[in-house]
């Protein structure tokens, strides 16, 4: 028997104490943490939960540069239990160094984690080849981190959604937010194509759409959207640690055995409207295949069976914005600047604390405020070159081999 009471759809127009706009990984995690704290929460999602970049990414959970790193590391090993649904999290990462200069890069990256009390092992060519049998035999080595890991993004976003519902939170899919109702410096309602939803507090975690939505409240959130892509192969026998990357690629071997890897040029896109078209792939997927074969020459015969693309947003410094605004004062703006999945257990908790107490007690979020961009030139995207550039056919058509 299905216990339908657990899954009753939200009644249209029924608001909540906290409304989270955006059913991506960051918004879902925030909503789940709020529901854990017994708060009445509603997620408004224009499509299906975790549908866009949140469900399509490298699945990495290893971000020593972030102020949320310690919390990311503390939470991931517990997430299956906390959520009650599998995320496919596995600990450890191997970063391959094909050349000496890559080894230096790996060690620099690991040093950031060591500074925060974590450890790693340096791998020589022999130990690397034992752990990663398909790796380039000439690779100088790599590092095996005793921190970090990886999980399945698609399964994880659904786990957040189900766990949220299990704790009484609600999700309203296929609902597009159009405007906000403001009164006395507070947002008191969200207007959607499915009617009005009242709220006492609002979390804006709408990925690339965050800027458009914030602008409805007169708030300027400087982000630029770009399309990025990945490829997936048929399954291979499992390696000891699936979280192996390097050679210009990020990604992992999934628990099923597929190699899922991305990297390379992104394509900046004009500001997105309310709807996001399905992102297409480009011939860059051949360059991904090339690098994956260079990283894993013994997998040259393995077949690529799909690719996908996602649209992610970046702030001008590439760092998140997690900020409880001054006006409207009951709004938290959240963008993880293209690095959201792995940090989501921690970012969701931080956002929940911003909502309930105005600050986080485990991370200093002041460095992630919106005010740091106050002096940004209005045409910053053009100055950075973070804009859509159409190819000039007359100057230099596609090169002919």
């Amino acid at each position: 028997m299905t216990d339908m009471s657990k899954l009753r759809p939200p009644e249209p127009g029924k608001g909540a104490a906290v409304i989270v706009v955006g059913g991506g990984v960051t918004g879902l995690s925030a909503a789940w943490w709020l529901a854990q704290a017994g708060i009445d929460v509603l997620v408004l999602e224009k499509g299906i939960v975790g549908w866009e970049a949140s469900g399509r990414n490298g699945g990495g959970a290893t971000h020593p540069v972030s102020p949320l790193f310690r919390e990311e590391q503390r939470l991931w090993p517990m997430m299956d239990e906390l959520l009650g649904y599998p995320t496919e999290f596995r600990p450890h990462r191997i970063r391959v160094a094909l050349h000496e200069d890559e080894m230096e890069e790996r060690l620099r990256g690991a040093a950031i984690a060591v500074d925060q009390g974590f450890t790693f092992e340096k791998l020589d060519n022999k130990t690397l080849r034992e752990l990663v049998p398909i790796v380039d035999e000439t690779a100088v080595g790599g590092i095996l981190s005793n921190y970090g890991g990886h999980a399945n993004p698609q399964r994880t976003v659904q786990a957040y959604a189900w766990a949220l519902q299990d704790r009484g939170g609600r999700i309203q899919q296929h609902t597009t937010v159009q405007e906000f109702e403001l009164r006395n410096g507070r947002v008191i309602g969200v207007l959607t194509d499915q009617g009005r939803f009242g709220c006492d507090a609002l979390v804006l975690a709408a990925g690339p759409q965050t800027a458009w939505l914030a602008a409805r409240m007169g708030i300027d959130v400087p982000i630029a959207s770009a399309r990025v892509e990945m490829i997936v192969t048929e399954p291979l026998p499992l390696m000891k640690h699936g979280g192996v990357d390097g050679g210009g690629l990020y990604g992992r071997q999934t628990l099923r055995g597929n190699l899922a890897y991305g990297g390379g040029p992104h394509e900046w896109l004009q500001a997105q409207g309310l709807r996001t078209a399905r992102p297409v792939n480009s011939p860059v997927l051949r360059s991904l295949a090339r690098r994956l074969r260079e990283l894993f020459p013994k997998a040259a015969h393995v077949r690529v069976i799909r690719s996908w693309a996602g649209i992610v947003e970046n702030t001008p410094d590439g760092r998140p914005i997690l900020d409880r605004l001054k006006n409207p004062e009951n709004v938290v703006v959240a963008t993880m600047s293209s690095v959201g999945f792995g940090l989501s257990p921690a970012s969701g908790r931080a956002i929940a604390q911003l909502v309930t107490q105005g600050h986080s007690d485990f991370a200093d979020l002041r460095q992630l405020d919106l005010a740091r961009f106050a002096d940004l030139a209005p045409d910053w995207r053009a100055r950075f070159g973070w804009i859509e550039v159409a190819p000039q056919l007359d100057e230099s058509p596609a090169v002919v081999s």
């Binding site: 899954l7 599998p86 990020y250 078209a277 799909r306 950075f384 973070w386 596609a398 090169v399």
Partner: protein, 537 residues
């Protein structure tokens, strides 16, 4: 003011492509051949791409058809395969003589162009590959004549070698002369099944029986009369209890539709091959990858491109003709209709290039046939007989119970208690059932055959179990490469220096990868640093 380019982005990147051509036709069946010949006659630079002969390795993966392991060793000999293909399709020789750039044994695995989420392409690009390498081809116009693919319906034992699709059977029999079975049971008495039986008879094979769940065969009366005249048994109102055999098929047990699962088999048929010939489906992979609008048309065999009368898709430079534009019994019976569609598309394109050409006389309208209903009745009968343990997705071993229960895949330990309240109905409460979502959760359709063997069944099943019409379930998306291609072959060997020198793992924003306690440079007017080895252009 000069435009600043982000060196790590697509801006200014180029892809090495083969010399441009005005028109590429994908698929050298009756529609594609007619289109290419007409286009060449009207003076268009025309390339005709066809993936046949297909490599033995792909056949072994049931790509692009459900070959069911029923090919003999001769498919390893690619030179012989080309000769046989030319014999089987005499119009190919005509196309060579007409000066068409013939690309046989070449698959069109991807298509790229600009749209709402991309603007990198100076021209539309097709991804092509053979057994040695892959490359890119630019074009002005594209005609997709990718034909039909198999539409298997699962039953107990359908994973055994010797169970194959009708398209796989025809390809092995006609194009490759490599079919190694002797005695067939054919499932489906519509036109696809009856044509399969006729082809088998003409090749001197034994047809043990034709089976259909319906009480009366749907196929054309003349074909039916001919087969009955040959003494072929037709078991109406029956479905498969199980396909028998240890290492491969050695027989089929039939029971009347609606028999209980423990009922004794009514009919035992020894055979070495079972052809799943209930229907075929339009091959719209490339069209969907290109973003051409599609719509669900039950009478045309599922999701088909939205076309104008000349065969033009919503992407004005892309046309669809033949079976990939929609399956119709009349077209399956009469290939000259597909050829007429091909000529008409070629003339429309030639007109855009300034060539005057007479319009093709209009085709008689297709009479609707009951494609969806027969598929649904077959699936319902087979699922009822096989029960919840039936494997629907062979690659990922997804059983019927896993699909209905939205369970995680078999490799993943999970608590049944946590999932006890979850199923398709529960998911439907939160919004319409979406096949891509089910795919992500259960992995049905995510395997190495790229969902060819299960995507249509899963689609029908989701509709049936959530009480909606199949047209209410959005098309599960297709992604490039639409053929499984080895890394070593897909790999770009001709990258430009700009691509190589500016490659970054994830954007080129230094501050993103500096520890948070290092304050980034001010960001008023320029990005906060770039990776040092980048080449500014």
């Amino acid at each position: 003011m000069s435009v600043v380019l982000d060196p790590t982005s697509m801006a200014g990147k180029q892809f090495v492509t083969r010399p441009h051509t005005q028109l590429v036709v994908v698929g050298a069946g009756p529609a594609g051949l007619a289109a290419a010949l007409e286009a060449a006659r009207l003076g268009l630079e025309t390339m005709l791409v066809d993936e046949n002969p297909i490599s033995a390795a792909l056949m072994g993966m049931d790509v692009p058809f459900h070959f069911g392991g029923r090919m003999d060793g001769s498919v390893q000999n690619s030179a012989r395969a080309v000769e046989l293909l030319l014999e089987a399709r005499p119009a190919l020789a005509e196309a060579f003589e007409a000066g068409i750039d013939m690309q046989l044994g070449v698959s069109a695995w991807g298509a790229f162009g600009n749209g709402p989420t991309a603007s990198f392409a100076a021209q539309p690009i097709l991804g092509l590959a053979n057994e040695e390498s892959s490359w890119l081809q630019t074009f002005d116009h594209l005609i997709v004549a990718a034909g039909a693919r198999d539409l298997p319906i699962a039953c107990a034992g359908w994973e055994k070698p010797g169970v194959m699709g009708a398209r796989g059977f025809h390809a092995l029999l006609r194009d490759y002369r490599a079919f190694n079975g002797r005695r067939l049971v054919i499932l489906g008495a519509g036109i696809v099944g009856l044509k399969t039986a006729v082809a088998a008879r003409e090749a001197g094979l034994e047809v043990a029986a034709i089976v259909d769940v319906d009480d009366a065969p749907r196929g054309p009366a003349p074909l039916l009369a001919r087969l009955k005249g040959d003494g072929i048994a037709i078991h109406s109102g029956h479905c498969v209890r199980a396909i028998r055999g240890n290492t491969e098929v050695d027989g089929v047990s039939l029971v009347p539709v609606n028999a209980t699962q423990d009922a004794a088999a009514a009919i035992e048929l020894p055979c070495d091959t079972v052809v799943l010939a209930v229907d075929v489906a339009p091959n719209i992979e490339l069209l969907d990858v290109l973003g051409c609008a599609t719509q669900y048309r039950a009478e045309l065999g599922g999701y088909v491109p939205t076309l104008d009368r000349e065969g033009r898709t919503s992407q004005r430079h892309v046309f669809a003709i033949g079976d990939c534009a929609g399956i119709a019994d009349q077209n399956l019976a009469d290939p000259t209709r597909a050829a007429a569609q091909g000529r008409r598309a070629a003339r429309a394109i030639a007109a855009e290039h300034g060539a005057a050409a007479a319009d093709e006389p209009p085709l008689a309208t297709v009479a609707p046939s009951d494609r969806e209903g027969s598929r649904q009745r077959w699936l319902a009968a087979q699922l009822a007989m096989a029960g919840d343990d039936l494997v629907i997705c062979q690659c990922e071993e997804v059983r019927l119970r896993d699909l209905i229960g939205v369970r995680p895949p078999r490799y993943l330990a999970h608590s049944e208690a946590a999932f006890a309240h979850l199923n398709l109905h529960a998911l439907a409460v939160d919004g319409p059932v979406n096949q891509d979502q089910i795919k992500r959760l259960t992995r049905a359709g995510m395997g190495a055959c790229q969902g060819r063997r299960c995507r249509d069944q899963v689609h029908l099943l989701l509709a049936a179990r959530s009480n909606v019409s199949p047209g209410d379930i959005p098309l599960a998306s297709y992604r490039a490469p639409v053929r499984p291609i080895p890394l070593g072959i897909l790999a770009d060997q001709d990258e430009t220096p700009n691509m190589r020198d500016n490659w970054t793992t994830w954007f080129g924003i230094d501050a993103q990868w500096q520890p948070h306690w290092e304050k980034p440079e001010p960001t008023q007017t320029r990005p906060p640093g770039r990776l040092r080895r980048l080449v500014e252009k």
